[in-house]
């Protein structure tokens, strides 16, 4: 059974009481030695690891050895996420209120330039251009309250 997370894919095959896991050309043997709600004790090639896992929709929160990752499970088709570097749409990173809009539609902007300022948790968060380009569309105005992930600005290449 193939399972895809973000950029990675892992193939898991039951093998008696254990599993065979293959990813990126590497193969290991996995044994579940203990399973509780949200916690797995595994032997991976005989080495004991404890993993904490939570699911929230397609998101998987996983902690192993104090390192936490959030993986998004792909269900067949790939949906383009609200990525930070490559999106042509800039979304609100958190709920808040638009404090200022510093550019106008059609304006050419350079990488790092502040496009607008969002106020959230009493802080000013500058929404900056991820790269050189043009402001295609401004989706919000000053004073407007925005939700998390709400699109603020659309950009296009120069």
């Amino acid at each position: 059974m193939k399972i895809a997370f973000d950029q990675s894919t892992i193939d898991l095959t039951p093998n008696g009481r254990n599993y065979k896991a293959v990813s990126d050309g590497k193969t290991v043997d996995v044994e579940v030695i203990r399973a509780e709600n949200g916690k797995l004790d595994l032997l991976i090639d005989g080495k004991h690891i404890t993993a904490y896992i939570s699911s929230d929709g397609a998101k998987r929160w996983v902690t192993v050895n104090g390192q936490t990752f959030v993986l998004t499970k792909s269900s067949g088709t790939k949906r383009s996420g609200a990525g930070h570097d490559y999106a042509s749409e800039l979304a609100a990173p958190m709920p808040g209120q638009i404090r200022s809009v510093n550019v106008s539609e059609g304006e050419a902007v350079s990488k790092g330039q502040t496009l607008l300022v969002l106020e959230a948790m009493k802080m000013e968060i500058r929404i900056q251009a991820p790269r050189d380009g043009n402001v295609k569309e401004l989706m919000v105005k000053v004073g407007q309250t925005v939700e998390r992930e709400q699109i603020l600005v659309k950009m296009e290449e120069q």
């Binding site: 399972i3 997370f5 990675s8 892992i10 898991l12 009481r17 599993y19 896991a21 990813s23 990126d24 590497k26 290991v28 996995v30 579940v32 030695i33 203990r34 399973a35 509780e36 709600n37 949200g38 916690k39 797995l40 595994l42 991976i44 690891i49 993993a51 904490y52 896992i53 939570s54 699911s55 929230d56 929709g57 397609a58 998987r60 929160w61 996983v62 902690t63 192993v64 050895n65 104090g66 390192q67 936490t68 990752f69 959030v70 993986l71 499970k73 990173p93 958190m94 709920p95 808040g96 404090r99 300022v117 106020e119 959230a120 948790m121 009493k122 802080m123 000013e124 968060i125 998390r148």
Partner: protein, 493 residues
């Protein structure tokens, strides 16, 4: 002694204060906003009063509502915690007018120190060194002239400020205009006061502060320093004591300067005198005094062996110190890491959501001050501080190792945290050498999160092998009728 105290705060500090009250046999009253109705500080108190809507203005910043709640519950004192109204002189005065005791300094002391401009002037008078700079400027032209005289980089900061809000480092003249404008706006919004001051920015400076403690009978002691140079966005994230930078002689000088600063404003209560120290010249400059309990007070408690919150309460009740400066000494080492719901890979943006899992480290010499538990909501209304992880050890080396072990046991799912980031800081050679200035995170520490390991992928995939459906919520502390783990029961041994 008081019989009932209202705690005008939320989160970990409200619980910290309630614990002290409980131990002293004092009843507690919590106040809360709509967003906090299920939070731990409400559950922990003997009584709880709803103040109003989630916006701080409608709840934790409402002087009238808080005093009304105290009257309504027959509380005889109010502890403000830190943040919110803790350094608001009008609040202290209003509490006194209502014939309640404010657990803090006098309104006059707060006023004298609350204004960064005024306080700088009075410190100069008291002979305490201050950072070169100017107060009371108005026009953009005056600021520009002042900045040129001081020499770039300069620091623009709110006269009424604190907590890094309304503060901007300006590297060159072309940035000054926008910086002043935005700092003014932030200051007005956060403190209702847009006055700014400008001073020399010392890029390699260490932030070192001294804890002071004064009673109402004129006794004032200091409880040594805290090194708070690991900062992001001008806010502390790791604090430790003793400071790796201070030799005994400098420590003694700065301690005496801290006591002199507090004496100059007739201070009683716990307070913190902040200095910046140039690591090259070992010169120190008064920065500001925080006239309240400090977030990072626990590291002092561990190294000095005192309970600062209990002493705040005793001081407010009029007790006289049974000790003097010579009775205090530093023993061992303590470090605090602030666990924030924020994304260090993305400009430290606050992260909100419901805590799907929340497991704190435990063990000897590990202290966790927190106000959250699994199932708690982290909202955008308040500071994203989840918990303070504090460890003690015999030496700095042992303490750093213990902190690393403790961080690796801290599990938070549902919001992004800075735990991985903190681990990386502790592993860094600069930190190990104690060679970190306040700009180190921004200028030298080039951290990027790694990708998920094979182990992580396996664990994520195993969760899915064991669950035929994608549960909308998988929570260790919530009863789940269709627990995916049940299908794994054959493997339990």
């Amino acid at each position: 002694m008081f019989s009932k105290i209202l705690i005008a705060n939320r989160g970990e500090i409200a619980i910290r204060i309630m614990r002290a009250c409980k131990e002293m046999g004092i009843q507690t009253v919590a106040v809360y906003s709509e967003a906090d109705k299920n939070s731990l500080h409400v559950q922990f108190a003997d009584e709880a009063i709803l103040l109003g809507a989630s916006e701080p203005k409608e709840s934790y910043l409402s002087i009238d509502k808080i005093i009304h709640a105290a009257k309504q519950t027959n509380a005889d004192a109010i502890h403000p915690g830190y943040g919110f109204l803790s350094e608001n002189a009008s609040f202290a005065a209003a509490v006194a007018s209502a014939k309640l005791t404010f657990i803090g300094p006098s309104a006059d002391s707060i006023r004298a120190m609350g204004d960064k401009a005024e306080s700088k002037i009075s410190m100069k008078k008291a002979g305490v060194p201050t950072v070169p700079g100017f107060e009371g400027l108005e026009s953009a032209t005056d600021f520009k002239k002042a900045a040129k005289e001081i020499g770039y980089p300069v620091l623009v900061k709110a006269a009424a400020g604190g907590g890094g809000k309304g503060m901007r480092v300006v590297e060159k003249e072309s940035e000054l205009g926008e910086a002043i404008e935005s700092a003014r706006r932030e200051a007005l919004n956060a403190f209702g006061d847009d006055r700014l001051l400008i001073e020399k920015y010392l890029p390699n400076a260490h932030h070192i502060e001294f804890q002071v403690l004064g009673d109402q009978h004129g006794n004032l002691v200091h409880l040594f320093e805290r090194e708070c140079s690991v900062q992001r966005r001008h806010q502390k994230i790791i604090e430790e004591t003793p400071s790796p930078l201070l030799a005994p002689k400098l420590r003694k000088q700065m301690g005496e300067a801290a006591v002199a600063s507090a004496k100059a404003v007739g201070y009683f209560n716990a307070g913190t005198v902040e200095f910046i120290v140039d690591p090259d010249t070992l010169k120190y400059y008064f920065l500001e005094m925080n006239t309240r309990l400090q977030v990072e007070h626990p590291i002092t408690e561990l190294v000095v062996g005192s309970d600062l919150v209990q002493w705040q309460i005793r001081i407010a009740a009029g007790e006289k110190f049974p000790f003097a400066q010579k009775d205090f000494s530093q023993r061992g080492h303590a470090i605090e890491c602030r666990i924030y719901a924020e994304d260090p890979a993305n400009g430290f943006l606050p992260s909100t959501g419901k805590l799907l899992q929340y497991i704190e480290p435990r063990g000897p010499n590990i202290r966790v001050d927190s106000g959250f538990t699994a199932g708690s909501e982290v909202t955008h209304f308040y500071d994203p501080l989840l918990a303070k992880l504090i460890v003690y050890g015999e030496s700095r080396e042992v303490t750093v190792q213990r902190m690393q072990a403790a961080l690796s046991e801290f599990v938070v799912h549902g919001v992004t945290t800075n735990i991985d980031f903190l681990q990386a800081v502790l592993r860094h050679e600069d930190f190990k050498r104690g060679d970190v200035s306040t700009r180190w995170v921004e200028t030298k520490f080039n951290w990027k999160p790694g990708g998920p390991s094979f182990q992580i992928l396996i664990a994520a995939a195993m969760a899915d092998m064991a669950t035929p459906r994608a549960p909308t919520r998988l929570n260790a502390n919530e009863a789940d009728p269709y627990s995916p783990w049940k299908t794994l029961s054959g493997f339990r041994n």
